[in-house]
Symmetry: C2
Subunit: 116 residues, 2 copies
DNA sequence: CGGTACTATATCGGCTCCGAAACGAATTGA
DNA sequence: TCAATTCGTTTCGGAGCCGATATAGTACCG
């Protein structure tokens, strides 16, 4: 089980994807922001500020600020939890799903091109 | 030919590696810095500020500053080109090689753990 | 009711990065 | 020889993210 990958291939994959990201030049996400985005889209809901802060091992204000930034990019949205109004639930958006879909396809495409 | 990888696996791989990087908490590199570092270590020398700027599609000051930062981390060094003293050649270091070796191993390990 | 605990957010300096422009040093070429 | 070009760096003002701390709103509990 698992994807067979040698270190040199792993680094080459990482290199090309990163290069692609930089070369595009547009707005790129911080490692933290990317971690948050992927967590929201890949792990089971609901997601809260507190939960994300704990999982990433950073402070809650850091999460709030990252949500501000990515919210402005429409990569995700916030909604107050009606059951417990102290909580905020982070939700997915169409734009965010598209963003990650493109990222996934790009990684797959680059992995496909790795030969030896 | 090529590494077989589905989009969901690619995103999961990206997610876990990014999460690992964030969770470590130490200083993480910018996408640009990572792109520079990987280019220097994976592509054939010599590497110059001008060449890196062109390849990444960013300005030369951006390269200079990234080299300052990663130089302070001892991930690479600069040396004046004796043949043409206007040029600066970017060179690899033991620390940089170790850093990337660890990164490669981590990616391999995570890819290994991807099952379905 | 009143206090305590918990949520997320706002605020505060500090740090790093950014692009554009200006700069000094080295090389080239007429 | 000396003006023009090339190279990397420095400077400048601006923008973003950081952690620590303080704040406002909500829930719980005696």
């Amino acid at each position: 089980m698992g994807i067979a990958l040698r270190p040199s291939q792993a680094l080459k994959l990482w290199h090309e994807v990163t290069l692609d990201q930089v070369h595009d030049g547009q707005q790129d996400l911080t490692a933290r922001q990317m971690a948050i985005l992927l967590t929201v889209y890949l792990e089971v809901p609901p997601h809260t500020v507190r939960g994300l802060a704990k999982q990433l091992g950073v402070t809650k204000p850091a999460i709030t600020r990252a949500l501000d930034t990515m919210g402005a990019m429409k990569l995700l949205t916030r909604k107050r939890d009606e059951a417990d109004k102290r909580n905020v639930v982070i939700q997915r958006t169409v734009e965010g799903a598209l963003y990650l879909e493109r990222l996934g396809d790009r990684i797959v495409s680059i992995a496909q091109g790795l030969h030896r």
